[in-house]
């Protein structure tokens, strides 16, 4: 393994740890008395209760919903299962704050915990649906047959054989949903539900980088760690790979019989809530706004800047993930696991925390980097590195090292050999990873607002500024464009998850 690769991987991980180190440094600098006065106060308690209840309610509901939907679309003879499956992924194309914007247009008084739970489940359940349906598709039916042959009825087979095999998918998906719940800002502002993230932004708006904001960030980071730890605990270490020779046969789809209508109804209602409400609202506001809201000069500029940031950020994240992905496939070991862990931890930090750290660091000790394109791209890379890493690793793993060796023995120089084999083979996976990162950047709001260079106005920023002045009609074109640009990317996600399952 080339030493420069290891050096690169280590430096990326060290860079990734900067925001964390920053929070600890600020806490130490602020002094214990101030820290405890800012952390142990009733307001933080309120926020903690809000945030905890939100996670405890929304995650289980999303799990139940996703398992039901995944089973119906993958394992039953539901009419139009493929279409429904795609419709269950599509809500991801709608930024969470657009979901919320749609809901408060439909139900203006909507607010508080239950509103938060409702909109969160609708906005984020696809994160659970995707891995669960992929896992269901891969299950070997032989296990279920064995259980049935031993006398278990269909329900008990599901409980005792199918559900336990979904554990990894459910854990991973829940973690992702939980982290999004902790990090989301716009969604909860619309429905007036205060979480740590909204409170941090409030403090930022009142004091810029005051100690209160940083201490709230510290508590929020602790919450993220608790989630990460919980996931590791619950995940367990059972073996899930199938034993036995040959390929698993195709699963039989269960006959729904009289349950067909209620099942269809469940999917219909979910689709209406998750896709119908946003589309109808955006359509309504577009109709109300007429041609006036299509200010093409403004929209064009925002679109150009958003695309530029999204692509440049995606490129940087992919390049930064490359050494790590390479090492984890070609030379896995304890060092690599440690480094990778660092990246995942930082990837789980809310954008607001990373932005707060970078703002303060650049303004205090790296002023030439302050408010530059470079800094915001670094923030994006840190936030979305795991997305790039996962896709890259999978695609590098699929490129056999033997091809590279063959190319070398046929006389290609090392870099040349690499280029003509592994890099080409892993390009589609890298492109998919880039698309995922770009999707994240396109819909990012808080970090962009805090870090963007002067004169920047992305689609999300424009949407937010108009909806803040309750000019919902002028905000609608921006929502529409964000959704329209994200839809193809979610299609890519859907296709990729199919491919992972080999079907």
């Amino acid at each position: 393994m080339a030493p420069w690769l290891i050096t690169a991987a280590i430096s990326v991980s060290l860079l990734a740890l900067v925001p964390l180190a920053f929070i600890i440094w600020i806490a130490v600098q602020t002094g214990w008395d101030t820290v405890s006065a800012l952390v142990f106060r009733p307001r933080v308690g309120e926020l903690l209760v809000n945030t905890t209840l939100l996670v405890l309610l929304a995650v289980p509901i999303a799990i139940i919903l996703s398992v039901a939907l995944a089973w119906l679309t993958e394992r039953s003879n539901l009419p139009g299962a493929r279409l429904w499956a795609w419709l269950c992924v599509a809500p991801l194309a709608i930024p969470a704050f657009v979901h919320s914007y749609a809901w408060i247009t439909m139900v203006p008084g909507l607010h508080g915990l239950w509103a938060g739970v409702l909109v969160s489940v609708i906005a984020y359940f696809p994160f659970l649906y995707l891995p669960i349906s992929a896992a269901l598709r891969r299950l070997d039916p032989a296990l279920e047959d064995a259980a049935a042959a031993l006398g278990l009825g269909p329900w008990r087979v599901f409980w005792r054989v199918v559900l336990p095999q979904l554990r990894l998918a459910i854990c991973g998906g829940s973690l992702l949903v939980g982290l999004h719940l902790l990090a989301e800002y716009g969604l909860y502002v619309f429905i007036r539900f205060d979480t740590f993230t909204t409170a941090i932004v409030d403090q930022f708006q009142s004091t810029f980088n005051g100690p209160a904001a940083n201490m709230l960030a510290g508590v929020l980071v602790t919450c993220c760690f608790v989630l990460l730890g919980l996931e590791v605990l619950v995940r367990g270490e059972e073996r899930y790979a199938r034993v036995g020779s040959g390929a698993a046969r195709y699963q039989q789809r269960a006959n729904l019989g009289r349950a067909t209508i209620p099942s269809l109804l469940l999917l219909l209602v979910t689709t209406l809530l998750a896709l119908g409400v946003p589309f109808v609202t955006i359509g309504r506001w577009l109709a109300a706004g007429g041609t006036d809201v299509w200010r093409f000069d403004e929209i064009g500029l925002a679109l150009g800047q958003t695309l530029f940031l999204a692509l440049a950020g995606a490129l940087l994240a992919t390049v930064a993930a490359m050494p790590m992905a390479w090492i984890s496939i070609r030379a896995p070991g304890p060092l690599q696991r440690l480094l990778e862990g660092c990246n995942y931890i930082v990837g789980s930090l809310p954008g607001v925390v990373i932005a707060l750290a970078l703002v303060t660091i650049t303004v205090r000790i790296a002023l030439p980097l302050y408010q530059t394109l470079f800094t915001i791209l670094v923030a994006y890379a840190l936030m979305f590195l795991p997305r790039a890493l996962v896709s890259l690793r999978a695609s590098i793993a699929q490129a056999p090292v033997e091809l590279e060796r063959a190319a070398s023995s046929l006389g290609r120089r090392p870099l040349n050999a690499l280029w003509s084999t592994t890099i080409r083979l892993s390009a589609p996976g890298a492109a998919a990873g880039m698309a995922l990162v770009a999707l994240g950047i396109m819909n990012e709001l808080t970090a962009t607002q805090m870090l963007a260079p002067n004169g920047t106005r992305t689609l999300a920023m424009a949407f937010w500024s108009y909806s803040g002045e309750i000019d919902y009609a002028s905000a609608a074109p921006y929502a529409f464009i964000m959704v329209a640009m994200s839809l193809p990317l979610t299609w890519l996600l859907y296709v990729q998850s199919k491919r992972m399952a080999g079907r």
Partner: protein
């Protein structure tokens, strides 16, 4: 197909980089940290550019984050001009010694009441505190006589505000100056039990209009702005002016200043001169902002209650303390 996809992505990336890269890097002219409403600042910037040919780049944000940001940036701040909605933010930057004196002929365009005695910043517009109420839920005789009445237990659950906004924090800073720290802290504590928090004054008014809440403490122009558009969010709303020199009759001065570290001081001063002069103040009268004009001889929109009739309390805008206010509000659990 595989190669095509990656080539396509690469080609798009390059193409967009070529188009958007320059768009992000073009000459910025003067940089204005703008905490005023984006639409108003844009009208000012466009009018100024038309008159002088000097380009203006706006960075939009809020009073408090910008004032603290400028202090954190110190002399390295990229900003040339700072525009606010309220004066506490101006005071914060001034006391950090980061403002250059405003040109004398700019100061001469604005009455003494609406500028800093130090000459470091100048008023560009003004706004009045109001109690916006739902006309179907409250009769005129049920309205609070004073802002202080809203701390009374009888008002529990009946009024709203946007405590995270600089607007409301400016009102609290006036209360602090008029009634002192102890009274303000008590009032804030009572507020925490009595009120409902919304984010943004527009949202408060929307909730009042929908009858979610009986009334809210906001500024006057949200109502007039909405009435001028569709009136959809204000058709059940009326404004109550506290008057009688009550803390709730506070008139807040929006300020403008030139940063001492500005790399374009001449252009920055010219911008302030334009904003406080005839051209800039007429935008207030004829535009959609409905804020009060403060320039000498400048008229405000005729739909507004005239400034002189508001019986505002005498508040020294140059000593409003934003840091103390956020500390008190954080202590009361409002932030």
């Amino acid at each position: 197909m595989k190669y095509k996809l990656s080539t396509l992505v690469g080609a798009t990336a390059v193409a967009i980089g070529l188009i958007a890269g320059p768009a992000m890097a073009e000459d910025a002219g003067i940089i204005v940290y703008n905490a005023q409403h984006e639409s108003l600042a844009k009208e000012w910037a466009e009018g100024f550019t038309k008159e002088t040919g000097i380009k203006v780049t706006l960075r939009n944000g809020g009073d408090s984050d910008f004032s603290n940001q400028i202090v954190a940036e110190g002399t390295a701040s990229p900003a040339d001009v700072f525009l606010t909605e309220n004066s506490p933010a101006m005071v914060l930057v001034e006391s950090a010694g980061l403002f250059a004196p405003v040109d004398a002929d700019t100061m001469a365009q604005v009455p003494q009441d609406y500028q800093a005695a130090s000459g470091k910043w100048v008023g560009v517009a003004a706004r009045s505190t109001v109690f916006a109420y739902n006309t179907t839920k409250l009769k005129t005789d049920q309205l609070p006589k004073s802002l202080l009445d809203l701390a009374d237990p009888s008002w529990k659950g009946r009024w709203a505000a946007s405590p995270s906004g600089a607007d409301f924090q400016a009102i609290v800073s006036a209360l602090l100056q008029l009634k002192g720290q102890a009274a303000t802290a008590d009032w804030l504590k009572a507020m925490k039990t009595n009120f409902t928090a919304y984010k943004g004054n527009s949202t408060v008014m929307k909730a009042v209009n929908a009858g979610e809440i009986e009334g809210g403490v906001i500024y006057h122009y949200y109502y007039f702005g909405d009435q001028a558009k569709t009136g959809e969010n204000s058709k059940n709303v009326a404004l109550h002016y506290f008057k009688n020199q009550d803390p709730g009759a506070f008139v807040s001065v929006s300020g403008g200043g030139v940063l001492a570290s500005s790399k374009h001081p001449k252009e920055a001063q010219a911008f302030l001169k334009f904003v406080t002069g005839k051209g800039g103040q007429e935008v207030l009268k004829n535009g959609t902002s409905f804020e009060y004009a403060v320039g000498k001889g400048a008229e405000s929109n005729p739909k507004l209650v005239p400034l002189v009739d508001l019986q505002a309390p005498k508040v020294d805008a140059t000593t409003l303390n934003s840091k103390k206010v956020t500390d008190l509000m954080t202590a009361a659990g409002l932030l």
